[in-house]
Protein backbone atom coordinates (compact mmCIF):
# COMPACT_ATOMS: atom_id res chain seq x y z
CA UNK A 1 0.00 0.00 0.00
CA UNK A 2 1.25 3.44 -0.88
CA UNK A 3 0.66 4.78 2.62
CA UNK A 4 -0.61 8.01 1.17
CA UNK A 5 -3.66 9.81 2.55
CA UNK A 6 -5.55 12.42 0.60
CA UNK A 7 -7.34 14.99 2.71
CA UNK A 8 -9.87 17.33 1.15
CA UNK A 9 -10.16 20.75 2.75
CA UNK A 10 -12.67 23.45 1.94
CA UNK A 11 -12.40 27.18 2.35
CA UNK A 12 -15.62 28.44 3.90
CA UNK A 13 -16.81 31.59 5.63
CA UNK A 14 -15.54 31.43 9.20
CA UNK A 15 -17.96 29.72 11.56
CA UNK A 16 -18.10 32.72 13.91
CA UNK A 17 -19.05 35.25 11.23
CA UNK A 18 -22.61 36.54 10.99
CA UNK A 19 -23.83 35.67 7.51
CA UNK A 20 -25.39 38.45 5.48
CA UNK A 21 -27.36 38.07 2.28
CA UNK A 22 -26.64 40.49 -0.55
CA UNK A 23 -29.36 43.14 -0.97
CA UNK A 24 -30.37 41.76 -4.35
CA UNK A 25 -30.74 38.26 -2.90
CA UNK A 26 -28.21 36.94 -5.39
CA UNK A 27 -26.07 35.34 -2.75
CA UNK A 28 -24.23 35.68 0.48
CA UNK A 29 -21.73 38.49 1.09
CA UNK A 30 -18.27 36.98 0.79
CA UNK A 31 -16.08 40.00 -0.08
CA UNK A 32 -13.95 41.06 2.82
CA UNK A 33 -15.51 38.42 5.02
CA UNK A 34 -13.24 36.25 7.12
CA UNK A 35 -12.79 32.79 5.65
CA UNK A 36 -11.16 29.76 7.19
CA UNK A 37 -10.96 26.00 6.88
CA UNK A 38 -14.22 24.13 7.38
CA UNK A 39 -14.19 22.83 10.98
CA UNK A 40 -14.93 19.26 9.89
CA UNK A 41 -12.07 19.45 7.40
CA UNK A 42 -9.76 20.48 10.26
CA UNK A 43 -10.77 17.30 12.05
CA UNK A 44 -10.04 15.32 8.87
CA UNK A 45 -6.56 16.85 8.57
CA UNK A 46 -5.87 16.16 12.24
CA UNK A 47 -6.81 12.51 11.83
CA UNK A 48 -4.53 12.11 8.83
CA UNK A 49 -1.63 13.78 10.63
CA UNK A 50 -2.25 11.60 13.69
CA UNK A 51 -2.05 8.48 11.50
CA UNK A 52 1.25 9.70 10.13
CA UNK A 53 2.59 10.42 13.61
CA UNK A 54 1.67 6.88 14.61
CA UNK A 55 3.67 5.77 11.55
CA UNK A 56 0.65 3.97 10.12
CA UNK A 57 0.78 6.00 6.92
CA UNK A 58 3.60 7.75 5.15
CA UNK A 59 2.34 10.92 3.52
CA UNK A 60 -0.52 13.36 3.97
CA UNK A 61 -1.59 15.33 0.89
CA UNK A 62 -4.01 18.23 1.35
CA UNK A 63 -6.30 19.09 -1.55
CA UNK A 64 -8.55 22.08 -2.09
CA UNK A 65 -10.61 23.22 -5.07
CA UNK A 66 -11.22 26.84 -5.77
CA UNK A 67 -9.68 30.16 -6.74
CA UNK A 68 -6.31 31.51 -5.60
CA UNK A 69 -7.48 31.95 -2.00
CA UNK A 70 -7.94 28.21 -1.61
CA UNK A 71 -4.18 28.08 -1.22
CA UNK A 72 -4.52 29.74 2.21
CA UNK A 73 -6.60 26.79 3.36
CA UNK A 74 -4.01 24.37 2.00
CA UNK A 75 -1.31 26.31 3.88
CA UNK A 76 -3.26 25.86 7.10
CA UNK A 77 -3.40 22.11 6.44
CA UNK A 78 0.35 22.11 5.79
CA UNK A 79 0.88 24.00 9.05
CA UNK A 80 -1.11 21.30 10.84
CA UNK A 81 1.24 18.63 9.51
CA UNK A 82 0.31 17.75 5.94
CA UNK A 83 3.35 17.06 3.76
CA UNK A 84 2.32 18.69 0.51
CA UNK A 85 -0.68 20.30 -1.09
CA UNK A 86 -2.58 20.19 -4.35
CA UNK A 87 -4.54 23.21 -5.43
CA UNK A 88 -7.17 22.43 -8.05
CA UNK A 89 -7.82 25.71 -9.75
CA UNK A 90 -11.51 26.47 -10.21
CA UNK A 91 -12.56 30.06 -10.80
CA UNK A 92 -15.43 32.22 -11.97
CA UNK A 93 -18.63 30.59 -13.05
CA UNK A 94 -17.23 27.13 -12.54
CA UNK A 95 -16.55 28.02 -8.93
CA UNK A 96 -20.07 29.38 -8.42
CA UNK A 97 -21.55 26.09 -9.49
CA UNK A 98 -18.90 23.92 -7.85
CA UNK A 99 -20.70 21.38 -5.75
CA UNK A 100 -20.23 17.92 -4.23
CA UNK A 101 -20.65 16.18 -7.59
CA UNK A 102 -17.85 18.12 -9.26
CA UNK A 103 -15.57 17.99 -6.23
CA UNK A 104 -16.04 14.25 -5.82
CA UNK A 105 -15.13 13.73 -9.48
CA UNK A 106 -11.95 15.74 -8.89
CA UNK A 107 -11.12 13.90 -5.68
CA UNK A 108 -11.74 10.52 -7.31
CA UNK A 109 -9.40 11.38 -10.18
CA UNK A 110 -6.74 12.60 -7.73
CA UNK A 111 -7.12 9.58 -5.46
CA UNK A 112 -6.42 7.32 -8.43
CA UNK A 113 -3.55 9.47 -9.68
CA UNK A 114 -1.91 9.71 -6.26
CA UNK A 115 -2.64 6.05 -5.49
CA UNK A 116 -4.13 7.06 -2.19
CA UNK A 117 -4.75 4.47 0.48
CA UNK A 118 -7.29 6.65 2.24
CA UNK A 119 -9.31 9.71 1.37
CA UNK A 120 -10.39 11.59 4.48
CA UNK A 121 -12.90 14.42 4.28
CA UNK A 122 -14.98 16.38 6.68
CA UNK A 123 -18.50 15.04 6.91
CA UNK A 124 -20.03 18.26 5.60
CA UNK A 125 -19.21 21.87 4.94
CA UNK A 126 -20.74 24.49 7.19
CA UNK A 127 -21.72 26.67 4.25
CA UNK A 128 -23.72 24.29 2.11
CA UNK A 129 -24.25 21.42 4.61
CA UNK A 130 -24.46 18.97 1.71
CA UNK A 131 -22.87 15.97 3.40
CA UNK A 132 -22.44 14.35 -0.03
CA UNK A 133 -18.87 14.72 -1.23
CA UNK A 134 -17.43 11.83 0.78
CA UNK A 135 -20.17 9.44 -0.21
CA UNK A 136 -20.06 10.43 -3.88
CA UNK A 137 -16.27 10.11 -3.99
CA UNK A 138 -16.48 6.59 -2.60
CA UNK A 139 -19.15 5.67 -5.12
CA UNK A 140 -17.16 7.03 -8.05
CA UNK A 141 -14.08 5.09 -6.93
CA UNK A 142 -16.11 2.05 -5.97
CA UNK A 143 -14.33 2.13 -2.61
CA UNK A 144 -15.86 1.32 0.78
CA UNK A 145 -16.77 4.30 2.95
CA UNK A 146 -16.67 4.96 6.69
CA UNK A 147 -18.76 8.09 7.17
CA UNK A 148 -19.51 10.06 10.34
CA UNK A 149 -16.39 8.54 11.86
CA UNK A 150 -15.90 9.23 15.54
CA UNK A 151 -13.09 6.68 15.82
CA UNK A 152 -10.71 5.34 13.21
CA UNK A 153 -8.29 2.46 13.71
CA UNK A 154 -6.01 1.33 10.91
CA UNK A 155 -5.16 -2.38 11.10
CA UNK A 156 -2.88 -3.51 8.26
CA UNK A 157 -5.01 -3.14 5.16
CA UNK A 158 -8.33 -2.81 6.97
CA UNK A 159 -9.91 0.12 8.79
CA UNK A 160 -12.13 -0.17 11.82
CA UNK A 161 -14.51 2.77 11.91
CA UNK A 162 -16.90 3.67 14.70
CA UNK A 163 -19.69 5.71 13.17
CA UNK A 164 -22.08 8.11 14.84
CA UNK A 165 -25.51 7.22 13.55
CA UNK A 166 -29.01 8.14 14.62
CA UNK A 167 -29.39 5.14 16.88
CA UNK A 168 -26.03 5.54 18.57
CA UNK A 169 -22.71 4.10 17.45
CA UNK A 170 -21.98 1.55 14.76
CA UNK A 171 -18.66 -0.21 14.27
CA UNK A 172 -17.66 -1.39 10.83
CA UNK A 173 -14.54 -2.90 9.36
CA UNK A 174 -13.74 -1.95 5.81
CA UNK A 175 -10.84 -2.73 3.54
CA UNK A 176 -8.55 -0.11 2.08
CA UNK A 177 -8.43 1.86 -0.08
CA UNK A 178 -11.40 3.62 1.46
CA UNK A 179 -13.07 7.00 1.97
CA UNK A 180 -13.67 8.30 5.48
CA UNK A 181 -15.60 11.35 6.58
CA UNK A 182 -14.85 12.94 9.91
CA UNK A 183 -17.45 13.71 12.54
CA UNK A 184 -17.11 16.21 15.37
CA UNK A 185 -15.87 13.83 18.04
CA UNK A 186 -13.17 12.13 16.00
CA UNK A 187 -10.36 14.20 17.47
CA UNK A 188 -9.25 17.62 18.69
CA UNK A 189 -7.60 19.49 15.82
CA UNK A 190 -4.35 21.22 16.66
CA UNK A 191 -4.04 24.95 16.17
CA UNK A 192 -1.93 26.12 13.24
CA UNK A 193 0.50 28.23 15.24
CA UNK A 194 2.73 30.87 13.71
CA UNK A 195 5.98 28.83 13.88
CA UNK A 196 4.23 25.92 12.13
CA UNK A 197 2.90 28.25 9.44
CA UNK A 198 6.41 29.55 8.87
CA UNK A 199 7.76 26.02 8.55
CA UNK A 200 4.93 25.11 6.19
CA UNK A 201 6.02 27.79 3.73
CA UNK A 202 8.74 25.43 2.56
CA UNK A 203 6.22 22.71 1.69
CA UNK A 204 5.08 22.47 -1.90
CA UNK A 205 1.64 23.17 -3.28
CA UNK A 206 1.11 21.78 -6.77
CA UNK A 207 -1.24 23.58 -9.14
CA UNK A 208 -3.63 21.47 -11.16
CA UNK A 209 -6.53 22.26 -13.48
CA UNK A 210 -9.65 20.05 -13.53
CA UNK A 211 -9.12 19.49 -17.26
CA UNK A 212 -5.69 17.97 -16.46
CA UNK A 213 -7.51 15.35 -14.44
CA UNK A 214 -10.02 14.75 -17.19
CA UNK A 215 -12.85 16.17 -15.11
CA UNK A 216 -15.67 18.23 -16.54
CA UNK A 217 -17.23 20.70 -14.18
CA UNK A 218 -20.59 21.16 -15.89
CA UNK A 219 -23.26 21.64 -13.31
CA UNK A 220 -26.59 19.87 -13.31
CA UNK A 221 -28.27 22.68 -11.39
CA UNK A 222 -30.88 24.73 -13.20
CA UNK A 223 -30.85 27.58 -10.76
CA UNK A 224 -30.64 28.68 -7.20
CA UNK A 225 -33.16 30.37 -5.02
CA UNK A 226 -31.99 32.29 -2.03
CA UNK A 227 -34.05 33.83 0.67
CA UNK A 228 -33.86 34.77 4.29
CA UNK A 229 -36.30 33.41 6.80
CA UNK A 230 -36.59 35.10 10.11
CA UNK A 231 -37.46 33.63 13.41
CA UNK A 232 -37.71 35.71 16.51
CA UNK A 233 -37.02 33.78 19.66
CA UNK A 234 -38.82 34.81 22.81
CA UNK A 235 -35.85 35.28 25.05
CA UNK A 236 -32.80 35.31 22.78
CA UNK A 237 -31.69 37.49 19.91
CA UNK A 238 -33.30 37.41 16.53
CA UNK A 239 -32.14 34.49 14.51
CA UNK A 240 -32.42 34.26 10.78
CA UNK A 241 -31.52 31.40 8.54
CA UNK A 242 -30.26 31.79 5.06
CA UNK A 243 -31.81 29.19 2.83
CA UNK A 244 -30.50 28.15 -0.50
CA UNK A 245 -32.63 25.92 -2.56
CA UNK A 246 -31.00 24.15 -5.40
CA UNK A 247 -33.29 23.48 -8.26
CA UNK A 248 -32.34 20.21 -9.89
CA UNK A 249 -33.74 18.73 -13.08
CA UNK A 250 -36.01 15.78 -12.62
CA UNK A 251 -33.63 12.92 -13.29
CA UNK A 252 -34.71 9.42 -12.43
CA UNK A 253 -31.48 7.60 -13.18
CA UNK A 254 -27.98 8.22 -11.87
CA UNK A 255 -26.74 11.73 -12.36
CA UNK A 256 -23.44 10.58 -13.80
Amino acid sequence: MSGRVLVGVKRVIDYAVKIRVKPDNSGVVTDGVKHSMNPFCEIAVEEAVKLKEKKLIKEVVAVSCGPQQAQETIRTALAMGADRGIHVEVTGKDYDTLGPLQVSKILAALAKKEEAQLVILGKQAIDDDCNQTGQMTAALLDWPQGTFASEVALENDKVKVVREIDGGLETIKISTPAVLTADLRLNTPRYATLPNIMKAKKKKIANVKPADLGVELTSRMLGKYRGVTGKRKERATQQSRVEEWTILPNIHRTIL
Binding site: Y15, A16, P39, F40, I126, L184, T188, P189, Y191, T193, L194, P195
Partner: protein
Protein backbone atom coordinates in the same frame (compact mmCIF):
# COMPACT_ATOMS: atom_id res chain seq x y z
CA UNK B 1 20.71 41.40 28.34
CA UNK B 2 20.90 37.65 27.75
CA UNK B 3 20.72 37.23 23.98
CA UNK B 4 18.91 33.90 23.56
CA UNK B 5 16.25 35.07 26.00
CA UNK B 6 15.70 38.17 23.92
CA UNK B 7 14.84 35.92 20.98
CA UNK B 8 12.53 33.90 23.19
CA UNK B 9 10.65 36.99 24.27
CA UNK B 10 10.20 38.19 20.71
CA UNK B 11 9.08 34.74 19.60
CA UNK B 12 6.53 34.69 22.40
CA UNK B 13 5.24 38.14 21.52
CA UNK B 14 4.85 37.27 17.84
CA UNK B 15 3.07 34.01 18.60
CA UNK B 16 0.68 35.66 21.03
CA UNK B 17 0.01 38.47 18.57
CA UNK B 18 -0.83 35.94 15.87
CA UNK B 19 -3.17 34.06 18.19
CA UNK B 20 -4.82 37.30 19.26
CA UNK B 21 -6.27 37.89 15.82
CA UNK B 22 -9.09 35.51 16.63
CA UNK B 23 -9.75 36.79 20.12
CA UNK B 24 -13.50 37.07 20.80
CA UNK B 25 -13.23 40.57 22.24
CA UNK B 26 -11.36 41.77 19.15
CA UNK B 27 -7.77 41.77 17.93
CA UNK B 28 -7.21 45.41 18.93
CA UNK B 29 -8.29 44.79 22.51
CA UNK B 30 -6.00 41.80 22.70
CA UNK B 31 -3.02 43.66 21.27
CA UNK B 32 -3.39 46.47 23.78
CA UNK B 33 -3.48 44.10 26.72
CA UNK B 34 -0.59 42.07 25.28
CA UNK B 35 1.58 45.15 24.80
CA UNK B 36 0.93 46.50 28.29
CA UNK B 37 1.62 43.07 29.80
CA UNK B 38 4.99 42.90 28.06
CA UNK B 39 5.84 46.54 28.81
CA UNK B 40 5.18 45.98 32.49
CA UNK B 41 8.09 43.54 32.63
CA UNK B 42 10.43 45.22 30.18
CA UNK B 43 13.01 46.13 32.83
CA UNK B 44 13.33 42.62 34.14
CA UNK B 45 16.99 41.55 34.12
CA UNK B 46 17.11 38.30 36.05
CA UNK B 47 17.28 35.44 33.50
CA UNK B 48 15.45 33.07 35.84
CA UNK B 49 12.57 35.47 36.21
CA UNK B 50 12.50 36.09 32.46
CA UNK B 51 12.32 32.34 31.84
CA UNK B 52 9.43 32.08 34.29
CA UNK B 53 7.58 34.90 32.54
CA UNK B 54 8.15 33.32 29.13
CA UNK B 55 6.84 30.02 30.51
CA UNK B 56 3.76 31.85 31.71
CA UNK B 57 3.37 33.31 28.23
CA UNK B 58 3.55 29.80 26.73
CA UNK B 59 0.88 28.77 29.19
CA UNK B 60 -1.32 31.62 27.98
CA UNK B 61 -0.82 30.37 24.42
CA UNK B 62 -2.11 26.95 25.44
CA UNK B 63 -5.07 28.55 27.21
CA UNK B 64 -5.97 30.56 24.12
CA UNK B 65 -5.76 27.51 21.87
CA UNK B 66 -8.05 25.67 24.27
CA UNK B 67 -10.45 28.61 24.35
CA UNK B 68 -10.64 28.76 20.57
CA UNK B 69 -11.13 25.03 20.29
CA UNK B 70 -13.92 24.96 22.87
CA UNK B 71 -15.73 27.87 21.26
CA UNK B 72 -15.65 26.14 17.91
CA UNK B 73 -16.59 22.73 19.32
CA UNK B 74 -19.52 24.15 21.26
CA UNK B 75 -20.77 26.11 18.24
CA UNK B 76 -20.59 23.03 16.00
CA UNK B 77 -22.23 20.84 18.64
CA UNK B 78 -25.05 23.32 19.07
CA UNK B 79 -25.66 23.66 15.34
CA UNK B 80 -25.37 20.07 14.23
CA UNK B 81 -26.31 17.85 17.12
CA UNK B 82 -29.57 17.39 18.98
CA UNK B 83 -29.38 18.82 22.47
CA UNK B 84 -30.58 16.27 24.94
CA UNK B 85 -33.28 18.01 26.97
Amino acid sequence: MANPLRGEVFRLYKNLLYLGREYPKGAAYFRERLKSAFMKNKDEKDPEKIKALVARGDFVIKELEALYYLRKYRAMKKRYYETEE
